[in-house]
């Protein structure tokens, strides 16, 4: 690939973001328009990834390789495979929507806000592209800064607490990962290259140790139970755009980390830890769903539902078969689309009512019927109604986990019941029931808002009716990943069998 497409995707929004500084700070309209144009251009720039991606190979594509810090063999190397490519596209799309939903909502420090969003976009894409684990770590950590600012400056009343919690949680995890990365460098032949590191074999003890070091970073990010408590606070306090990006992209990185690093590099530990990971996932599914029933805050409810949905994703990943992993990855996209869309919706209605308390709503379907239809659609996708994307992901994860261990599917499937329970109850309390006087006379969605939601509607049905559009990207990479994990196990067993005790 002669054109450094991935580098362009990373740095275009960052440079674009800083170029906002040339606009006069008071000219809010120009700043917003420019930010939107940059994000649109970035999206257009990412489209070739979709069409030029070679679905027949598991090898990294669109690769770039430059030596960066030769003394420590740190390289600037980028590439995408079937696991990561779709997230880049999702990031570029979601950023556009995040900018659109902030159009009126952000009134202070507008320039800084859009700069943060665009900067965040570039760094997020970097996380998904990096094939050098040190580079990955840099992006991973830098990503915290704009998110920290977005919540801390433009967030709700309790934002400082939420920000610190978010920052500390993720930082503690990340530092443990850093230690893991460095020790990996020491043991893995002095390289940070992910592919090279995966070729090495490590002692099972070292793998286990490293597994938990990575786990600390990734599980917090997912977030898995019991390290999930930062998420409801962060979501509640974040502005709409922050919530959308957080739900759609940021928390996917935890699951992505498991797929990209933990599994290929630490196959035996992964095999050994499948049980505990599955149990944690199941707890997350059920715990997250049940606790949703007790929520009185719109955003908190959706945040806890994320814990439940992310449980499906990690369940899929650690059930370790094609259906479950493909379902898990698809569910990462689906959750990004659906929960992202739900947060967009909540942002829109919050702009009108300035309240997140569920009891302040009721009968909204009468005052905002179009909005009600959109919200219903996303609700149905969230509870996995067939023909929506949510169904395909949940179905594949459940099927895969059933193939792996039927009882896991048994517990996970209770999420179907509980999910319908809390989501439809939420829907009833907001949109049905007698009209609450606080929502009387609220204006219907504007054209801008409808346009913000339409791409998500398109994705819901596109993936729901023709999931092959997404799944076909994954097939080869996922097969390769499974063979990496299971192949090593066979080798290990083989070795164990040959060596006499």
């Amino acid at each position: 690939m002669s054109v450094p497409l991935l580098s362009a995707l990373i740095f275009f929004p960052i440079i674009g973001g800083f170029s906002l500084l040339i606009v006069k700070r008071e000219d809010v309209q120009a700043i917003k328009t420019m930010a939107l144009i940059i994000s649109l251009m970035e999206f257009v720039l990412s489209i070739p990834l979709f069409f030029m991606f070679d679905k027949t190979t598991y090898l990294m594509q669109f690769t770039e390789h430059h030596s960066w810090i030769p003394a420590f063999h740190i390289n600037y190397s980028l590439g995408v495979d079937g696991i990561s490519v779709l997230f880049i596209l999702l990031s570029t799309l979601v950023t556009i929507l995040a900018i659109l939903v902030s159009w009126e909502a952000i009134q202070t420090k507008v320039l800084e806000f859009f700069l943060s969003i665009l900067f965040l976009e570039g760094v997020m894409i970097g996380v998904f592209c990096a094939t050098d684990i040190f580079l990955f770590y840099i992006f991973w950590e830098v990503m915290l800064i704009p998110m920290f600012l977005i919540i801390g400056i433009w967030g709700g009343p309790n934002r400082i607490y939420a920000t610190i919690k978010f920052f500390l949680y993720t930082l503690v995890g990340s530092l443990l990962m850093l230690v893991g990365i460095i020790s990996l460098y020491m043991k893995g032949g002095h390289t940070f290259d992910v592919i090279e590191l995966a070729k090495h074999s490590y002692s099972i003890k070292f793998q286990m140790w490293l597994f938990w070091a990575f786990f600390a970073a990734f599980a917090v990010k997912v977030p898995m139970w019991p390290v999930h408590t930062w998420l409801p606070d962060a979501h509640t306090e974040a502005p709409a755009a922050g919530s959308v990006i957080l739900a759609a992209i940021l928390i996917k990185m935890g699951a992505y980390g498991f797929l990209r690093f933990s599994m290929p590099i630490l196959p035996q530990a992964t095999q050994a830890m499948m049980g505990p990971m599955i149990v944690l996932s199941l707890i997350g599914i059920i715990y997250g769903a049940i606790i949703c029933l007790a929520q009185t805050d719109l955003k908190r409810l959706i945040a806890y539902s994320s814990v439940s949905h992310m449980g499906f994703i990690t369940l899929g990943i650690y059930s370790m078969n094609t259906q479950s992993i493909e379902g898990g990855i698809l569910q990462m996209i689906n959750h990004g689309v659906v929960t992202g869309a739900l947060f967009l919706c909540i942002g829109m209605v919050y702009e009108r009512t300035h309240t997140r308390a569920i009891k302040d709503y009721g009968g909204l379907a009468s005052t905002m019927p179009i909005f009600g239809s959109f919200f219903l659609l996303f609700t149905m996708a969230a509870i996995g109604l067939p023909a929506t994307n949510g169904f395909i992901g949940e179905f594949l994860v459940l099927l895969g986990s059933f193939i792996h261990k039927p009882w896991t599917a048994f517990f996970a499937a209770t999420g179907l019941i509980l999910g319908a329970w809390y989501m439809l109850w939420l829907y009833q309390r907001i949109f049905f029931n007698p009209i609450n006087k606080k929502v009387v006379g609220l204006p219907e969605l504007t054209t801008r808002e409808v346009l913000t939601l339409l791409p998500m509607v398109g994705l819901v049905f596109w993936i729901g009716l023709y999931p092959d559009a997404m799944l076909s990207f994954m097939h080869v990479s996922v097969e390769h990943l499974i063979s990496q994990v299971q192949g090593s196990m066979e080798t290990a067993q083989h070795v164990a069998a040959v060596i006499p005790h």
């Binding site: 049940i290 594949l396 459940l398 009882w407 329970w421 092959d468 799944l471």
Partner: protein
Amino acid sequence: MRQQITNIFFLVVVICGLSVLPAAANTTHASGEHHSNIHVTVSQHHGTAATSEHAALGHVEEGAVEGHAEKGEHEENVRQLIAPTHDGSLPWWLLAIPFLPLSSFIFTLLFGKRLGVNSHWVPIIAVLISFSCALKAFLTVKSGHFINQDLYTWISSGNTRVAVGFLLDQLTAVMLIVVTTVSSLVHIYSIGYMKGEDGYYRFYSYLSLFTFSMLMLVLGNNFMQLFFGWEAVGLSSYLLIGFYYEKVSAATAGRKAFIVNRFGDFGFILGLFLIFVNFGSLHYYDVFSHAGQIVGHTWTIFGMTFDMPTAICILLMCGALGKSAQIPLHVWLPDAMEGPTPVSALIHAATMVTAGVFLIARCNPLYELSHFALNVVTFIGAITCIFAATIALVQTDIKRVVAYSTVSQLAYMFIGCGVGAYGAGVFHLFTHAFFKALLFLGCGSIILGMHHEQEVKYMGGLKKYMPITYWTFLLASLSISGVPGFAGFFSKDEILTMAFNSDIALGKFAWFIGTFVAFLTAFYSFRLFFLIFHGEFRGTAEQKAHLKESSPVVTIPLILLSIGAVGAGWFGIPALLGGHNYWGHFLMPVVGEPELHISTYAESVLLGTSVLAGGCGILLAFFMYITKPEIPGKLVEMFPRTYNLLLNKYYIDEIYIAGLVEPTLSFSRKALLKVVDGGIIEGIVNGIPRGIGAFSSKLRGLQDGQISHYLAWMGGSALFLFVWMFTR
């Protein structure tokens, strides 16, 4: 009025025009253009006449449905399976059946608001064309041509391939007729019933959505599409029950219906997974043609071992229990009466709730492998049958009486399937669709006349005000009571005979219950009938002043349905009464037919018993509500406990709320939110940094601000670990 007449005129023209369509299509069909698509696989069987009419077909292949191990020699397991074809395309009329209502849904949802009072036209025309295409499909099947073809691959991952595909066989054809007929009539009826309602267009778009979903459900050639339709009808039901969403009770009822159904789906989807694990496919053909290979297999979960066919059948049955409102998942159906009455007729009587019966009938090759599962189905059917009928005895809301009677009648169908007489179960589904839809639409007409009054307490003597409603309601009541000659008689009798005849352990038990419930059914139906139409009017003077017969848009569907309520059973007149039981023969290739091994004499006695039971019920109702109307009140005084138990529906809802809903909610609020999340996890998370912060500030006592404390600690510990790593 003029508008009314124009409406009706247009409808008549449209109906006439459309009914020409299938005939025309049929002539083109005779040329055999679809012939090449059709492959028929006839199962290996021993010496029955089953295949004689199909053997003449072009592509007859000898397929194998392995015989079941458990059943005796005398019962043949004759099943014809239609092999999928991959060449050629699906005929347009088959695709039009579901996709026209879908298009009309989208159209009406988007543009209905602008169309206002005219928004019913597109849905009605769509469903009428669907209906004529369904007729065409029926004739195609009747002439011995079948279709099983995929449209496209829906999901593909690993070795999982799921397609959207269509299967047209006898069972599908029957369901298509039921769905499109009742749906068409309900569409027309709603012009009158929903007139002037807010959200008129919304109502019609949901009706179209429902019709589409239900048609997808019955047309699918694989379990996944069945599940799609299954959930989609659930969604439409949710939307329509909650149509008057500003009423808390309506919104809650819709939600309840959805969630209770999800309990069933929980089992259903696990059943699908188990099928996939066993057969590597979710296509009916792949599964049913290899059904025999799971005999003797076992499945272990949670340390318990189950017989594989039994496990699959019971899990699938869970789904059926939810959709068809059988114990213990029946609780949603009575509440579903919050929806507009046409919806109750279409979804909650004639079509959607029969999906569970359809599922079991469709999966009969699997159920044949497990006597245990069949016994469970029979048992649940029998229990639900009497349970719902007893509740119906005392209810006073006319829609609720009919709702409980629906639960009870669905239970008859379950008994039919449970005793292996799937054809009889589907036969009752067919006749029930007509007389029950008629009862509901009759209720709707009464409710219109009474200005949205549903309490029977305020009715009485409506006969002279609403003659058409009166007569059609009478026909429906006679039909449900099993009066000889009416539709319900033939199908109910078929089920009861088959139950008695069956070698399923609980067959005789189910027969006994079923016969007794025939008595109860006749009683409560005529109780309702007499209370509504006879005696003195008990409502207000104002209501009385406005009483009048409903408009023709409402009464014409009633009259059309009453034709079905009377005559739908004539397709299945048993040999005993000199008939040929066309019904049984038509469906036999798909669902088989148990051999009768009771004598003609015994059969006549059974028939006589059930007729007698029904007759007694009607007479008793006449005695208690016409001759001596003071008796019911006295009975209530004599047995207040029983009365309250029945009036409160055996307190099942209260038990669920106290035993399941409230504990979950308080567990969520008190245990998870307060203790685990707020107490333990947050305690640790906030405690550690706080402790460390305190420690480090003691240690240094220099810096202010917590963040920096934390950061300093983070950096320090990272450094420490760094050093430790390198020096180790």
